[in-house]
């Protein structure tokens, strides 16, 4: 039965601990143990019975959904990326403007690299927006 307990523990590993989780685990354990005993009564060896029980249990994706397992918030990270890209591009563009005006004040060329750099925050902005929507 130890093998069964281990398997159930493994299945519930990702679900955050709560009173509800403990109750369900206890219920699942009780029912699975009963199934194993039932199968053994029908003439199966203990190992066979345990294996069959584990295979027939299935995966617990549905159960996770019912227990409201929240997916880790990725949105915050995206927001951070957006902020970083805005600051980063601002600094790079400032550098171009400075070099342009300081060394070649007669030729305005900083606009070209500015356009290239702006793709960075633009991409991050839409990535953030997409995450917010989804």
């Amino acid at each position: 039965m130890n093998q069964l307990r281990k398997h159930v523990d493994e299945l519930f590993k990702e679900i955050p601990d709560s009173g509800k989780k403990a109750t369900i685990m206890q219920e699942v354990m009780q029912n699975l143990e009963e199934k194993v005993l039932d199968l053994m009564e029908q003439g199966k060896a203990e190992d066979d019975a345990i294996n069959k029980t584990i295979v027939e249990f299935g995966d617990i994706e549905d159960l996770k959904k019912e227990l409201d397992v929240k997916l880790p918030a990725k949105n915050n990270l995206r927001k951070l990326n957006l902020g970083y890209s805005i600051w980063g591009s601002f600094l790079i563009i400032s550098l171009f403007i400075f070099i342009n005006l300081y060394y070649t004040p007669n030729v305005i060329w900083f606009v070209y690299p500015t356009f290239a750099v702006l793709w960075w925050p633009l991409t991050m902005y839409f990535s953030w927006k997409k995450a917010k929507k989804g």
Partner: protein, 127 residues
């Protein structure tokens, strides 16, 4: 042996018995379990065994799915649970249907009747 049909449905072939884990049944699991609990108070393993028995093993519910359904039904106050006496393996958790559950079941039964009539209009006589 596992055969995946054209529709992407997984059909398990065991001897000559086809085990169909179809999405169609999935949508009616709540009703199936409510029906079983309506007959008498039952516990988890008893329900999964009863389903296999009555369908002659054509449909077997995965235990993990079963507990998800229990959670859902209990949250909606359609069933309630209590602990029974200690038996082999420990304390069994029994489920009983609530008044709300009975009303819900009656409604879904009516709904199923209509659904069946509609599908039959198209599917009957095809085989």
């Amino acid at each position: 042996m596992v055969i995946i049909t054209l529709l992407g449905r997984v059909v398990y072939v065991q001897g000559s018995v086809y085990l169909i884990r179809s999405d169609i049944i999935r949508g009616h699991l709540d009703s199936i379990i409510l029906c079983l609990v309506l007959e008498k108070d039952r516990y988890g393993y008893e329900i999964s065994k009863e389903i296999s028995l009555r369908t002659d093993n054509k449909f077997q519910i995965k235990e993990a799915t079963l507990y998800a359904v229990f959670q859902r039904l209990e949250k909606k106050d359609l069933i309630e649970s209590y602990y029974g006496s200690v038996s082999k393996g420990g304390k069994r958790k029994y489920y009983r249907i609530t008044t709300l559950g009975k009303a819900y079941l009656k409604e879904t039964a009516e709904e199923w009747k209509v659904t069946k009539e509609i599908i039959d209009l198209f599917m009957e006589g095809l085989n």
